[in-house]
């Protein structure tokens, strides 16, 4: 019917482009001078804001809202170690209450990302917000609101399960009157009620991992970071951990950001996954949408190999974009 002349088409297209630019600018308003382009290769609609772009008003400061719709958001997050770019302009957003998986081969930058988001490591460039708070400028406040389980089985063997939790209950400022109940509840929740007085050196690997999750949940963090939570565990222990993570999320609405290179785990737990390769998020989406993109019969292994197995990111690894070498 109404034909669109080429010039009109161009101007409409420009208008759309300006609108997108406007929205993007608004969205990154709080973060001057970074974010070159979104890094992902997948369909932009399921990239940075996987499920709920509508829930968040662009430009709104999540700080004003105690439960921001986006629990974790990175903008151009970059970390270099000497000439190596471990994390390269990473842009991801994790919806509050969801389980988000960072997948990728060894050395993809998953652990470095977690270290930055948990304030252990300062970014070389870019920024991130966790629970609405800036990870650099508000590091201490971020720490009060997050839980962290490291890759290693890191409970103290010379202490009982109870004592391991007691230390952190104190460090997180849980009131003395509540401490004991909180610790006992956490231990029972993780199925460790009976092992309360046992020295941790006598725990199995699965028990230690559950103890660590209990510890990370003591102060009811809004975001929980898990770095390869089931690595080295037998299948039974692994399934137990998964079940507890599901329960945690259901019961407390905790947002979980986890790294893994276990495809079954990602499929079982995560609503959204980002595949990292050479420090970049090369694909982001729900496990099912990523599988669809790769092929009709594809499983997550295929997705993983498709995005991280080949020469996806030629020339990565060199620190070409380290803006401030003084941060090394």
């Amino acid at each position: 019917m109404a034909r669109v002349s080429p010039s009109e088409w161009t101007s409409r297209s420009n208008a759309t482009q300006s609108f997108i630019d406007y929205v993007l600018k608004k969205a990154i308003n709080n973060y001057p001078a970074r974010l070159a382009t979104p890094v992902m290769t997948a369909d932009p609609s399921d990239l940075t804001r996987p499920t709920d772009t509508s829930e968040r008003v662009p430009g709104e400061s999540s700080l004003e809202n105690q439960a921001p719709a986006i629990a974790v958001e990175t903008l151009g997050l970059t970390r270099c170690f000497g000439p190596l770019t471990a994390v390269d302009t990473l842009n991801i957003a994790v919806t509050t209450g969801s389980i988000f998986g960072l997948l990728g081969p060894n050395g993809a930058g998953k652990t470095t990302t977690i270290k930055m988001l948990t304030t252990m490591l300062a970014p070389t460039a870019g920024s991130a917000k966790v629970a609405g708070l800036d990870i650099v400028r508000q590091a201490v406040e971020v720490r009060r609101r997050i839980g962290y389980v490291s890759q290693m089985l890191s409970a103290d063997g010379g202490l009982t399960g109870y004592e391991n939790l007691l230390l952190f209950a104190r460090l997180y400022g849980i009131a003395r009157a509540k401490r004991r109940d909180r610790i006992i509840n956490a231990l029972q929740f993780m199925g460790l009620g009976e092992a309360e007085r046992t020295l941790v050196r006598n725990y199995s690997g699965g028990m230690i991992r559950r103890l660590e999750i209990a510890q990370s949940m003591l102060h009811r963090p809004s975001v929980l970071f898990l770095d390869e939570p089931t690595v080295g565990l037998d299948p039974v222990a692994r399934h137990a951990v998964w079940q507890h993570l599901h329960e945690l999320r259901t019961q407390f609405g905790t947002t979980i950001l986890m790294t893994t290179h276990d495809m079954e785990e990602a499929d079982e737990l995560c609503e959204v996954i980002a595949i990292m390769h050479r420090g970049r998020a090369v694909a982001v989406g729900s496990p099912s949408s990523l599988k669809m993109q790769v092929g009709a019969d594809a499983d997550l292994d295929d997705v993983f190999i498709h995005y991280a197995g080949g020469a996806v990111d030629e020339g990565g690894g060199l620190c070409r974009q380290c803006p401030d070498p003084s941060h090394h």
Partner: protein, 274 residues
Amino acid sequence: MSTVPGSVAPLNGFAKAGFLTEFLRDTFALADIELRKLRRDPLELLTRAVQPALWLLVFGQVFGRLKAIPTGEMNYVTFMVPGILAQSVLFIAIFYGISVIWERDLGILQKLLVSPAPRTALVLGKALSAGVRGLSQAIVIYLLASLLRVRLRFGIEILGVLAFVVLGSAIFSTFSLAVACLVKTRERFMGIGQVLTMPLFFASNAIYPLAIMPGWLRTFAKLNPLSYQVDALRALMVQGGQTMFGLSFDFCILVLVLVGLVLVTAKLYPNVIR
């Protein structure tokens, strides 16, 4: 938009304590945990008793007979008892930093750094627990010295001895933590620990008075916190012992050094995990 940390509402159920309250609470929480571990495994402390016994029973006896070192009216063994206490505390404390490397390798340090505990509390908590380990040495030395019929003071001075032992332990263990944060590996740390102990020990008034040292060594010894610890211990521990610098001066110097070291080490602490 700039964000002010103070504008963040306190978390539900957590009254926000002042920095000092938090700092003290966290420091004692960490020290308490270390002590619980120590109580379960006290064997470590017994093995530490061997070295001071050798110094007092072998070295002290031989040098006492030689009468080569001018110690005034005090016999040589009496002179060296406070020095050997300071030395055995130093030898334990100077290797204490390796614990931070262990904790990093186990992933415990990462969890501590992710907690809201001030870094200074993480460091001082460790320093205090090292201080308590040092106290076990005081018991050992008092026993050994009694065996050697050294005339010890058993009055209120004992409290002073305990305070200076904890202070010295805390200083050298914090120093050791700082070194660990810089070298980051166990192997390098052990090498450096060995290199540090002997100069700190010999360039001090632990086993000979400052007066007999050549000028350059005396200057070094006056910069060495161990000298101030020994000076105070000598006055507090043995009868006839006198301080050269004054107890309050010794105390102030040691507290200042500790504060400085804790501040520097707290800055270095996150380095270990990089």
